[in-house]
């Protein structure tokens, strides 16, 4: 990651990012550009550097913020009409932590309204285009953030992942995207979707950048009582040296810096610009056992994605890792369980948007009931309405036992199945989505077809386990392919470290 120092000013980094953002304006990545605010902050950091004061680990690093994170800089719209005029007086804890290290938000990125969607086409402001093919979707719901990183506008971007909203757009745009363990990063100041599965995470170009961001953002927050004590930086089980088997560690000759084969991204610049932190190395984790899920190896998954998975499995074998097959029959039902549990939580979380206290309020309502009804009908997108109504259906009397309770029981089976899998292997490698980026408009009018996009990503959210999208080359049409590396709860650091083993050219 390029950070500001005495040679490269924060203002230069920020101006470059803003110029690129404007150059790529036709992709519709940003809902808001933070021009004046970003430049002012950059000047503050440059002044500190000039005075020789200590600056943070992200000094002057421009980043893009998914537009469902609250801060007073720009309105937080969640790409929804009902929040179009809303500007938050409070700042999300995750933003405060990044900015305390000197990161500078240059813009707020587009998403499916309230993060309901897998393509960013459900945005009130129109879709974001794929970084590799403008006729295709960016993925979603964090589409704007993924494309901002893929087009090299920013070094990193924030996202939220309730069922795949970081991992799928990362795979559609050829970058890294992490959904951490449930409870790892504070959600205070982030627009709630489904409280039992929502996670904050990041998009980056390298595993080392992901590690740095995680080490900054993780930890308990008194403002979010669903945060875990900081295991990412402290937990002994995270210490790579504590693996019982010493042969897993490769202490020799690992001072070689990684290479990243990306156009316009020169790793030599990175090592020059980095002026703090330890020298980055390739993976220290050796002799792992990796599980491939048998149940995902069928015609419902694109053949080139399955080939990419097999190629990565071969690569791991050649590096001394063992590949095993896993039977995980309950995962077949994860999507149905997800589309019961999450709409139920959505219906509850989105009941707060009533036009009374903040956001859009419909005009000319004769009484309070009409105000609620008109505001919500005019303010929500069609997909928001579908999810709220599905949620109220599965929770309503007569259907609760058959749908919601049954899904909650299915969730237990899914949690147990992951526990069993991780008693047999260290990590699971699987596809993220059944296909690479699809055409704009292809699925937008068929909600179930859009939901099927999430069939391999949602089970992680139901189980609370972390997953990292890793780039896995391109298909014949030139579209990026991605795979997800899944680990047990709290294995985030090892997961990121191990992802280096999946890079083709470790030299």
């Amino acid at each position: 990651m390029k950070i500001a120092n005495s040679k490269v000013t924060a203002e230069r980094l920020v101006r470059d990012a803003l110029e690129k953002a404007e150059h790529f304006s036709d992709y519709h990545i940003f809902n808001y550009l933070n021009k004046d605010g970003a430049i002012a902050r950059a000047r503050e950091i440059d002044a500190k550097i000039k005075r020789g004061e200590k600056v943070g680990r992200l000094a002057g690093v421009p980043y893009a913020l998914k537009d469902n994170f609250l801060s007073p800089e720009g309105g937080t719209t969640a790409s929804a009409h009902i929040l179009e005029e809303f500007t938050s007086p409070i700042t999300a804890t995750s933003i405060a932590k990044l900015e305390a290290e000197g990161a500078i938000m240059i813009g707020r990125t587009n998403l499916d309204a309230f993060a309901h969607g897998s393509s960013t086409e459900n945005s009130y402001f129109g879709p974001t285009l794929n970084a590799f093919d403008k006729t295709r979707v960016a993925g979603g719901s964090s589409g704007g953030s993924a494309v901002a990183v893929a087009l090299d506008i920013v070094e990193f971007a924030t996202g939220t992942d309730t069922g795949g909203s970081i991992r799928q757009p990362a795979s559609f745009n050829g970058i890294y995207g992490l959904k951490p363990t449930y409870g790892c990063i504070s959600r205070y100041g982030v627009v709630a979707m489904a409280s039992s599965t929502d996670c904050i995470g990041f998009f980056t170009k390298t595993p080392d950048d992901m590690d740095l961001l995680m080490s900054i953002a993780s930890g308990q927050d008194p403002k979010d009582l669903t945060t875990l004590p900081d295991y990412y930086n402290n937990d002994d089980s995270n210490n790579l040296d504590t693996k019982s088997d010493d042969s897993r560690l490769d202490n020799a000759s690992n001072s070689l810096s990684e290479t990243v084969s990306r156009e316009g991204y020169d790793p030599s610049e990175v090592s020059e610009a980095r002026d703090d932190g330890p020298e980055r190395t390739r993976s220290k984790i050796k002799n792992c056992r990796i599980g491939l899920v048998k149940d995902f190896d069928n015609e419902s998954v694109d053949s080139e994605i399955r080939e990419a998975l097999k190629a990565k499995a071969e690569l791991l074998k050649s590096k001394g890792h063992e590949i095993i097959e896993l039977d995980m029959p309950s995962l077949k039902y994860a999507l149905a369980a997800y589309y019961i549990i999450v709409p139920a939580e959505v219906a509850s979380n989105l009941s707060r948007y009533d036009g009374v206290r903040y956001g859009f309020r419909s005009k000319n309502s004769k009484d309070l009931d009409a105000l609620y009804g008109n505001t919500r009908s005019e303010g929500f997108m069609a997909e928001n309405k579908r999810r709220i109504m599905t949620g109220n259906f599965v929770l309503s009397s007569g259907f609760y036992d058959a749908y919601f309770l049954k899904a909650a029981k299915a969730r237990t089976l899914i949690v147990k199945e992951y526990e069993k899998a991780f008693s047999k292997c260290d990590f699971i490698l699987s596809p993220v989505s059944p296909n690479p980026a699809f055409k704009l408009g292809e699925k937008v009018s068929d909600p179930v077809a859009m939901y099927l996009e999430d069939m391999m990503s949602v089970s992680l959210n139901l189980a609370g386990v972390p997953g990292l999208t890793i780039p896995a080359g391109k298909n014949k049409a030139g579209l990026p392919l991605g795979l997800q590396l899944v680990g047990p709860r709290r294995s985030d650091k090892k997961l990121i470290e191990f992802s280096k083993e999946l890079q083709e050219n470790d030299q």
């Binding site: 809303f86 007086p89 875990l228 219906a347 004769k366 309503s396 049954k406 299915a410 237990t412 609370g464």
Partner: protein, 95 residues
């Protein structure tokens, strides 16, 4: 199961929506498709399995019962509403 017009009207009431005729029609189709899909859970035997509602490892996280400093002032919060008077939010008549 097929979602009928009266089901949509009931759900829109639960959801506090005022739907147009064309929305009622499209949502009937959409919700029928969605409910058909999620009904495949019927194939799964969950007899005797306890439900899972959350995957957070901790329970009953308490804080001390004291007033903490707030991130937003009353004035800042009231400024977010469309209409207010005497520190109260103004809405159309309730009854």
């Amino acid at each position: 199961m097929k979602i009928k017009r009266e089901d949509i009207l009931h759900l829109s009431e639960l959801s506090n929506f005022t739907l147009s005729e064309s929305e009622i029609e499209s949502l009937s189709g959409n919700l029928s498709d969605i409910i058909k899909y999620i009904s495949q859970l019927d194939e799964l035997d969950v007899e005797g399995i306890p439900p899972t509602y959350q995957v957070f490892e901790m329970e009953n996280v308490w804080r001390d019962d004291e007033i903490l400093e707030q991130d937003a002032s009353r004035d800042e919060l009231l400024a977010l509403t469309k209409e207010s008077r005497d520190n109260q939010i103004k809405v159309p008549k309730v009854l």
